[in-house]
């Protein structure tokens, strides 16, 4: 597994020799059978979702159009989702009706970390927020992820407070 995590993906069909060539795409309904929810479970508790529940939530989010994007990277060998992240665009009144991108739920399969897939996911989400006209993009993370997000161009700004019901 250690070797696998350091080696580029060799895709016999497509001839890909580097993870940089693994395409990032938006989430699709069929990804419920490709381990998307299992991947999220590496971040937070995630019971399996029925196709009906998955489709309903998918439709909720699709209705938001480009204001909510979930991206994924699929391993072409296994057909499994190995990295994901989301960004939603918040519309404000301040700063002349500005927009802010909120990045959430970035996770890379533990089996394929150290391949910069996380950085590619974050870059994709940042670029989406920028293209959408946001003046900034923000996220919350544990302090031990600070260095990773600094590599992605972020700086520590403030603190996150939470209230659990």
């Amino acid at each position: 597994m250690e070797n696998r995590s350091l080696q580029p993906v060799a895709d016999a069909e497509g001839g890909r020799g580097d993870d940089d060539l693994l395409p990032i795409r938006r989430l699709e309904i069929s990804d419920n059978s490709k381990g998307f929810v299992e991947l999220l479970a590496q971040l937070s508790p995630c019971p399996p979702l029925s196709d009906a529940d998955f489709s309903a939530r998918f439709a909720d989010l699709a209705a938001l159009g480009d204001d909510h994007v979930i991206c994924v990277i699929e391993d072409p060998r296994s057909g499994r989702i190995i990295a994901t992240g989301s960004v939603f665009i918040e519309r404000k009144f301040l700063r002349g009706c500005a927009k802010v991108g909120h990045i959430e739920d970035v996770v890379v399969d533990t089996a394929v970390r150290c391949r910069h897939l996380g950085q590619r996911v974050v870059q994709y989400l940042v670029e989406h927020a920028k293209a959408a006209g946001c003046y900034k993009v923000i996220l919350d993370c544990e302090p031990d992820r600070r260095a990773f997000y600094e590599k992605c161009g972020f700086t520590e700004k403030s603190i996150q407070m939470a209230l659990y019901f």
Copy 2:
């Protein structure tokens, strides 16, 4: 001004003798003429908005229904908005299609602080998130606001990272 900030509001018409009785309501289109944007300017740069721009953004947010709420407190004496805050509901796939409330842009007019209006705004937004079925509500703030949000029931959870375009 110092006295005013410590005295309860005396509303000659309604007989209100305490800020607790000042109603909190949702933002209305007519609030563009009641100093809503000027109030936000105490938080972040806010050029005045034309009625057309205000209405367009208002419509964007109204389309989200209960998934985006901006509340305000209006001073019945001056007819000005003196406190506001917003919450939007993010729908996720994790935790069985859970929802998370994100509180943003809480501001109380500097002239009327120390009257617990900020706590009432946050309480309103928290209750909305809870009623909407969120499992938690989160927000980002400067460290010097930690004590205020702890009074509102929040605890420090993580750090916020930002990337400005």
